[in-house]
């Protein structure tokens, strides 16, 4: 047991060094891509909690990220608060929206859950586009202050990199712990065998709400940080097709495991950054690949470690 603890401390130190050293070595461009990867990781582990554990096919993940982005950007712009604080307010707002949605979904099953998230996504993007006074309408909000705390101003990749890395590590750690907590195990059980677990006296809807709120909050956090890094939010960045894209990446990488979510984030950020000229084909390929992986998994041809669900 002690040896295991020592080993995990050592692994954590090495991982920490690998994650936090790059600013001293690499140029700004690759640091920016790394930050993109960290943000996508936060988003993907959120989607993992929602789709992998809770088994809700979420089509409003990007829209929840949008809630975080708009709330954080709005507060930072209008009230002039420090972005380092407002991003957490953005995440809280996303949690509140997710809880409201979870209340609506408390009695739904299977397909209807996905349909409800689709409706929610359209409602949110419509609000982003139409509530011009708050969200700037189709033009979005520009001139969002970069991440800053008191006199520290992180407008360059080298300066915000450690912050993004720390938040991403925190998010992964949080989900890892949640996965292993009694609550997380109960949630996984609800996802796999809802009605049977219900007959044991476990409240499905409450657990589902917790899972959905955690996932939504992480999406909101990622969206909020992204808004301050880009300096701009617009309604086009949070549509349904983005949510579908995230879902497809998660399916390709395997949605039953936390590792799958991180791999999905890696694939998504590499795709977004390095396959720009390829953009038009990218989503088609991703969608077809996701279909292929679903098909192959169902005929048991895919390698063990990246199996989609925990089916034995």
């Amino acid at each position: 047991m002690r040896r295991q603890t020592l080993l995990s401390v050592a692994v954590a130190c090495v991982a920490g060094a690998v994650i936090f050293l790059p600013p001293l070595v690499f140029a700004n461009v690759s640091l920016r891509v790394a930050c993109l990867f960290f943000l996508t990781t936060i988003l993907m582990v959120g989607l993992y909690v929602v789709t992998g554990l809770t088994r809700i096919v979420s089509l409003c993940h990007a829209a929840l990220a949008g809630v975080g982005a708009y709330v954080s950007a709005g507060i930072a712009l209008r009230l002039g608060w420090w972005p380092v604080a407002t991003i957490f307010l953005g995440a809280l707002a996303a949690v509140a929206v997710a809880l409201l949605l979870a209340w609506c979904m408390r009695k739904m099953e299977d397909h209807y859950l996905a349909l409800a998230t689709l409706a929610a996504s359209e409602i949110l993007t419509n609000i982003f586009r139409s509530a011009t006074a708050l969200t700037g309408g189709a033009n979005g909000l520009a001139g969002i202050p970069p991440l800053s705390l008191a006199t520290l101003n992180w407008s360059q990749p080298a300066s915000y990199y450690p912050f993004c890395a720390a938040i991403a590590l925190g998010a992964v750690g949080l989900v890892w712990l949640f996965d292993r907590s009694p609550l997380g195990r109960a949630l996984r059980a609800v996802g796999e065998e809802g009605s049977r677990v219900g007959s044991l006296g476990v409240s499905q809807s409450r657990l589902r709400a917790i899972g959905f709120a955690l996932g939504g909050g992480l999406a909101g956090l990622a969206g909020a940080i992204g808004a301050h890094l880009d300096g701009f939010v617009g309604p086009e960045s949070y549509g349904v097709s983005l949510s579908i894209g995230y879902l497809c990446f998660l399916v390709i990488a395997g949605f039953g495991r936390l590792g799958g979510a991180i791999l999905a984030a890696l694939l998504a950020s590499i795709g977004q950054e390095y396959l720009r000229g390829f953009l038009q084909w990218q989503m088609i390929i991703v969608a077809v690949l996701a279909l292929g992986f679903l098909y192959l998994r169902s005929t048991n041809l895919v390698l063990q470690p990246w199996r989609l669900a925990g089916k034995k």
């Binding site: 096919v57 409706a119 097709s241 579908i244 088609i284 969608a287 279909l291």
Partner: protein, 288 residues
């Protein structure tokens, strides 16, 4: 003014109803919520347009028939091969969601992001009925909807295929046990639903413009209409569509057209919240 708006709403409602009809048919026979339904609607119109532009034929009817046939075959094949293999609702939802993304971006790639207009195909002019201006195109759409609804009701109620479809809807394993080829039946039903969506797309294409992104919105409205009418209830789907169309027309006329879509989506979420399995969920799901 009011009656004119209601007439416009009625026609749009019939289109939503046609889409909801296909959606309902697919759900009740295969237990698949086809998230690509809206994209198939647009794909039908684009395929017909491609037939016309490619010089394959000059008549819209022939081009439309070709497009619908193609969609029927591809949809059936997709179900026979891919969807049949996926047994959990989660996998099936994700599969149609991925299909919708592939179709949407495929259309973007093939036809670009600009709206395309169809060559005018309906008779010009309008009928004036008691002060109400009804373009001939509306009459064509309305009669086509009536014929399709009647045809599908007869098919599902009385034909052998329809009886097999209903048997598969009620109990797939039992149906397979008595020798019904459930895999083919599901593929057939999915193809029919997709074909109906494509038909709806082609019917409105000459009066609307075709855009690759239009399907998402229209598809979501078809889901709402199908839920309003009760899944598996074919006349109910058309009624649900009409109710939705009228609601939209009234909202656009009296509140604001910016918020009319939002109202429909909130309506969908509210219906799902109050009736978590759709309206009529208490009854055994059925077709016909």
């Amino acid at each position: 003014m009011l009656s004119q708006q209601l007439a416009n709403g009625l026609i749009i409602g019939l289109i939503y109803g046609l889409l909801a009809l296909g959606f309902s048919l697919v759900y009740s026979t295969t237990r698949v919520v086809n998230f690509a339904h809206g994209e198939i609607f647009t794909a039908g119109a684009f395929l017909a347009l491609a037939c016309l532009r490619g010089g394959l034929t000059t008549s819209l009817i022939l081009a439309g028939a070709l497009a619908v046939m193609a969609v029927f075959l591809v949809g059936g094949l997709f179900t026979y091969t891919v969807l049949w293999k996926l047994r959990t609702p989660l996998e099936r939802s994700v599969a149609t969601i991925a299909l919708s993304l592939a179709l949407r971006d495929g259309m973007l790639l093939a036809f670009g992001s600009d709206s395309e207009s169809f060559p005018p195909s309906y008779p010009e002019g309008a009928l004036t009925l008691a002060g109400l201006v009804v373009p001939y195109s509306y009459l064509v759409i309305a009669s086509a909807t009536a014929i399709l609804l009647a045809g599908f009701t007869i098919l599902v109620r009385y034909s052998r295929m329809g009886i097999w479809m209903r048997a598969t809807a009620q109990d797939e394993q039992l149906a397979a046990l008595v020798g019904i080829p459930t895999r083919w039946i599901q593929a057939f039903a999915f193809g029919l639903g997709a074909g109906l969506a494509a038909t709806a797309g082609i019917l409105v294409a000459p009066t609307w413009q075709v855009n690759y992104a239009a399907g998402t919105t229209v598809g979501l409205k078809a889901f709402t209409a199908a839920l309003l009418g009760g899944l598996g209830n074919l006349p109910g789907a058309i009624i649900g569509g009409v109710v939705l169309g009228l609601l939209e027309a009234l909202l656009a006329g009296y509140v604001s057209s910016t918020w009319k879509d939002l109202a429909v989506y909130i309506c969908l979420l509210a219906v799902l919240t109050v009736f978590p399995g759709g309206i009529f969920a208490g009854r055994k799901a059925r077709v016909g």
